[in-house]
């Protein structure tokens, strides 16, 4: 079975969902995707393509922004979850790490992590997980008692991931973890995410503009444009396909500026899923 769209029941299945904001603005126009147990799946596309909205539709955060899933379903191990509130979704084992980190600035690093375990009973298991998070993110250890507002951007991103980890998720929705960070830090964070995926068996759905790095770690990818999935395939296939690179991911060779005339007329493949 391929790592992405295999047969058998996936961990998460998004089936042709439509999302409308404020009852009028159609943002997602039929998005379908699948995340297998323990997989890393990339969701690529430019600004405004609908990546964040897709993640929020899964996590239930959409409703606080006056958005609504009006068609289609989101299934978690086969059971529909798109009508559930954000807190219930977390209890199922799906946690979103929001774009822009969103740590609790006035709480210490330690308190931020403990808050992440809100849905779980306290006790020894919680203490163990706290230590576990610190072993994955050793940089945070020295910052334990510092208010999260004062740590660096990279540390905040680590804290946001660590906080999500405290809820013991089976699936983590990562929204633009590379945003605003130096390339070395980005690599460090992605390495840790890959380790979490391997060692803790946390599946990852990763929304990224930085396609190069996302496809390096993901097994399968979806490309979105204006509220639709326009392409999907194995990470390798996507990163090798010249057309995809050129039209969606901006990965063509640097410096080889082409005339607009050379750009192929590209007809988008229509997709009718499920």
């Amino acid at each position: 079975m391929s790592a992405g769209n295999g047969t058998g029941r996936p961990l998460l299945a998004v089936n042709n969902i439509e999302v409308i904001y404020d009852h009028v603005i159609l943002v997602l126009k039929g998005v379908s995707l699948r995340v297998p147990e323990g997989g890393i799946v990339a969701l690529l596309g430019a600004n405004g393509a609908g990546k964040s909205t897709t993640l929020k539709a899964i996590s239930g955060l959409l409703r606080t922004e006056r958005g609504d899933v009006t068609k289609g379903t989101v299934e978690w191990r086969g059971a529909p979850i798109h009508r559930e509130g954000a807190a219930d979704v977390v209890r199922h084992g799906i946690v979103q790490v929001m774009e822009g980190r969103h740590v609790f600035e006035h709480l210490t690093v330690d308190e931020n992590l403990l808050t992440g375990a809100y849905t779980r009973p306290g006790g020894d298991a919680l203490r163990r997980d706290l230590d576990l998070v610190y072993t994955y993110f050793p940089r945070l250890t020295q910052r334990r008692h510092v208010r999260a507002g004062y740590i660096s951007g990279g540390e905040q991103q680590m804290l946001a991931i660590g906080r999500a980890l405290m809820a013991r998720p089976r699936l983590m929705l990562l929204d633009e973890p590379s945003m605003g960070l130096a390339p070395m830090l980005v690599a460090e964070i992605f390495d840790i995410v890959a380790r979490l995926n391997r060692e803790e068996n946390v599946a990852v759905l990763l929304a990224e503009q930085n396609a190069t790095i996302a496809l390096k770690y993901a097994q399968y990818g979806y490309v979105m444009e204006s509220g639709r999935v326009v392409l999907d395939g194995d990470a390798r296939t996507i990163s090798d396909n010249e057309d995809i690179k050129e039209f969606y991911l901006g990965l063509t060779g640097v410096g080889q500026r082409k005339s607009y005339r050379d750009v192929k007329h590209y007809r988008r493949r229509k997709r009718w899923l499920s």
Binding site: T64, H102, V103, F104, E105, H106, Y118, R147
Partner: protein, 312 residues
């Protein structure tokens, strides 16, 4: 000129020095009055911390709690039972407010929520009047309004009990916010609604909890003020005294609300007694606001307010 300075700068201190026992009485009176300001301010702080909403209706909640308690006592309920029922009413009120006011307005601008609490203010005022009538009522909870001598100073027993109760409540709240899971969640929600939601903190529960706690604090404040000066509609105006307390102490700080209340309570009593005669009295009425104004100019986040963390 020298004469004026003599009166303003030297005279009052000479009076303080010449009768320290009386000065002690003034300070204790101020502390105890300040405790009551603190209690009202606490209600504001709780809600502001957890939801970023400035609850304009806090003063009316104090009034409403006191009215309910008096009404129940008048109908012949024993004191303990009346307290329990009043607490239940305030908690029920928190549920209703969450459902009817806060939930439909989630993710709206703070100013919109603030306006909603103004509406709530008028509603509660009218509703309380409809239920319990508009007369001034006497509230007797069994603590005598008597004074006794302590270390050569007169201390009012009622005020002393109020002070002690306020101190206990404050201690409990401080521990609750710093050490418990719900308390942490409350602070998390105050920092970032959406992030709190993303890790599974249910906002509904949190809001019901803070409004309930604010309601319970309002009962205590209402009872203490009511026992002192009767339960009447002007009780809701002590909310206005809580404002300078908040500016002084900082909107997000439980400790700030306490200390701010004490500073204002003591300050205005001392000002009134020693400097009042120089300007014909009534310092007590404006002292708090002038102090608040000065603080806004010098330290707008208050003594213990949370610094706005800005990243560059």
């Amino acid at each position: 000129m020298i004469d004026v300075l003599q009166h303003v700068v030297v005279g009052p201190f000479r009076d303080i020095g010449s009768n320290p026992a009386f000065f002690g009485e003034v300070v204790i009176g101020g502390i105890l009055a300040g405790m009551l300001y603190s209690l009202v301010a606490l209600g504001f702080v709780l809600i502001f911390k957890a939801s970023g909403v400035f609850n304009f209706a806090q003063g009316v909640m104090v009034l409403f709690a006191a009215l309910t308690l008096v009404g129940l006592l008048e109908r012949g309920l024993p004191v303990a039972a009346a307290f329990v029922v009043t607490a239940a009413v305030m908690i029920a009120l928190a549920f209703v407010i969450e459902r009817v006011v806060l939930r439909p307005l989630v993710n709206q601008e703070h100013i919109i929520l603030f306006m909603a609490t103004i509406g709530l203010n008028f509603f509660l005022e009218g509703f309380g009047e409809m239920l319990w009538g508009a007369n001034v009522k006497k509230l007797d909870v069994g603590i005598p309004d008597r004074s006794f001598m302590m270390a050569g100073m007169q201390v009012n027993q009622l005020e002393l009990s109020a002070g002690v109760i306020a101190a206990v409540i404050v201690a409990i709240l401080a521990v609750f916010f710093q050490k418990t899971r719900i308390g942490r969640a409350l602070r998390a929600v105050a920092d970032d609604h959406e992030a709190a939601l993303s890790i599974g903190i249910p906002l509904k529960t949190i809001w019901v909890v803070v409004w309930s706690v604010a309601g319970l604090v309002a009962i205590v404040a209402g009872v203490m003020w009511g026992a002192k000066s009767g339960v009447q509609f002007s009780l809701s105006l002590i909310a206005l005294k809580a404002l300078p307390v908040l500016i002084l102490g900082g909107f997000e700080s439980v400790a700030g609300a306490i200390l701010g209340g004490l500073i204002i309570g003591v300050g205005e009593k001392i000002g009134e007694v020693y400097w009042g005669p120089l300007v014909g009295g009534a310092i007590e009425n404006w002292f708090a606001y002038v102090l608040a104004l000065a603080f806004l100019l010098v330290r707008p986040q208050g003594l213990f307010g949370e610094k706005i963390i800005e990243r560059v």
